[in-house]
């Protein structure tokens, strides 16, 4: 069976840099079975004002057997739910559902894999990188963010990737620019055979477009507003293209698929990107599983590949 409703014990809280909080949760039922790209949904206390669960992609897993396996989530503070979670410390009990959704599909034969993460949207890519390396695949990484403080795991990425590029919009680390500015040259240099991406929608749209042009398979983990996270509320849908059968009108070519159960990993070439979820507002963003376009201060344009908060 897939998902479970579980109680997990907080093993530890950490901060990564200035912005990001991490919770490691002892949850053997989920930790033993979760796959890269899947997510967990946490209740944020008994707050009756803000009732919905918050979804978080899994950043790291430690399989320590049936008693002690843990999952680690990373998040930044976006609202009352994440504020509550950031205050939890060791031994606190959290109510969580997982492992949820369809994760990344790993290559069947040895492959050169390029992982592209925007800000905290990079979170699920570290779990993915571990699994890919365990199976003998080559892993290259591009991380981008608005500034160095919003890059997640830049040092860790250098350790585990054959080639690691970072881009920041303000030039505070790595190349100045966006991940898409270095994507094609990195793909050529690394002989990339498959791309995995996670971050805000505009970044995923741009990366998908390039991969389609380069004829490279692209898997994206999307962030969509979720109420339930287990397939019943129909709020987190993504528009997907599908081939038309005879007698079908062009508008039948788009179907809405649930990000929580049919995603959050989709074929980037199949997603109808324009209009998808770029209306998600910052105060809503903590209801998305892997990072939404965040507008710090609320005055900037909807995010590019930068500063997606995440999970």
């Amino acid at each position: 069976m897939s998902m479970v409703l579980a109680h997990g014990e907080i093993l530890g809280h950490k901060k990564y840099g200035e912005h990001y909080h991490s919770l490691t949760i002892v949850t053997p039922d989920i930790g033993e079975r979760v796959r890269p790209g899947q997510f967990v949904s946490l209740r944020c206390g008994d707050n009756r004002a803000s009732i919905l669960r918050r979804p978080f992609s899994v950043y790291r897993v430690h399989k320590r057997g049936g008693w002690a396996s843990t999952v680690e989530i990373v998040f930044d503070i976006r609202g009352p739910g994440t504020t509550h979670l950031s205050q939890l410390r060791g031994h606190a009990i959290v109510d969580l559902i997982g492992p949820s959704g369809r994760g990344f599909v790993l290559p069947k034969r040895r492959a050169h894999c390029l992982l592209v993460g925007g800000g905290i949207g990079a979170a699920p890519l570290f779990f993915l990188a571990d699994e890919l390396r365990n199976e003998g695949h080559r892993v290259d990484v591009i991380l981008g963010a608005r500034n160095s403080g919003l890059l997640l795991g830049a040092i860790e990425a250098r350790r585990l990737a054959s080639v690691c590029r970072t881009t920041t919009e303000d030039g505070s680390m790595g190349d100045t620019g966006r991940v898409t500015d270095v994507l094609v040259e990195t793909m050529e240099k690394c002989d990339t055979e498959v791309v995995y991406a996670c971050g805000p929608h505009p970044m995923l749209a741009a990366v998908s477009k390039i991969c389609v042009e380069q004829k490279i398979p692209i898997q994206v983990a999307v962030e969509e507003l979720m109420a339930c996270g287990y397939g019943v509320c129909m709020t987190c849908v993504m528009p997907l293209r599908r081939p038309l059968k005879r007698d079908e009108s062009p508008e039948d070519a788009t179907v809405y698929a649930r990000s929580c159960t049919e995603g959050p990993v989709f074929n980037g070439a199949q997603v109808v990107w324009n209009g998808a979820a770029d209306l998600v507002t910052e105060d809503q963003a903590e209801l998305t599983p892997v990072g939404a376009p965040m507008r710090h201060g609320g005055i900037e344009e909807p995010a590019d590949e930068h500063a997606p908060p995440g999970n």
Partner: protein
Amino acid sequence: MDLTTKLGPLELRNPVLVASGTFGAGREGAAFVELDKMGGIIVKSMTVSPWKGKPTPRMCETPSGMLNAIGIQNKGVDHFLAEDLPWLVKKKATVFASIAGNTVEEFVKVADKLRTGARGIAAVEVNISCPNLEDRNNMFSHSTTSTHAVVSKVKDALKRVPIFPKLSPNVTSLSEIASAALDAGADGLSLVNTVFGMSIDVETRRPKLAGVVGGLSGPAIHPIAVRAVHEIHQNFPHVPIIGQGGIATTGDALQLMLAGASAVAVGTMNFVNPRASLEIAEGIADYMTRHKMTDTAELVGALKIEG
């Protein structure tokens, strides 16, 4: 504790159902609950042909609740009859089919298909909180005429199946709408559907929902539901009522029963806790033990008002 509950002609295992649109057709929730222990499942509304639903964003969280504008995305009645219903029957679920449409004729077509195709449907909830294309897109449930038209035609099509129109609280006189539904042959009433609401992102000045306005649900609307059930039970004391709207706790469910609901349905809380309906049923059993009750009927309308 025996929680067997009479709801009009129906006998339910317990008085706690799950509300339409909050539990799909049970498959996803089955990971967490035993469908054969639930009072019943009111499935996601179905239409005569598949509906694609509205663009995103479809929901936003609001104080003690959420707004949604989903547009009844569903695969259509044929899919329900072929795929979902046989599975639900196998799982021994008590099934309430929920039907929707944009014209009276669309409702009738769904009802006809349910009559001819369906064994194992306990009752039908009629979701009249849909825009009526033949009445300038006003909701059926906002007009006594439209309500009467839909309910009488659906009842003609489903003579042997109890039907429960689900009424909207966004009306001047709920009793007038209820009266129209009952005159048209409703066997009972579902009270209430979501409350119209809207939320705006002030930085972008855009509505938070792509559909601009949506339905407010969750604990925020519970007092509205209690008041609605109370009013209808006072005016129509013999009508079976399924009370719904913002139930999060056993106490919330009990309030609706004390106000006059024979059964209740948990909605938005299913998103937070898929086991909420079963836990609330257990809570009702505890309450009845404490209050030395043996039959859920003793709760129904047991409100005490002095004077």
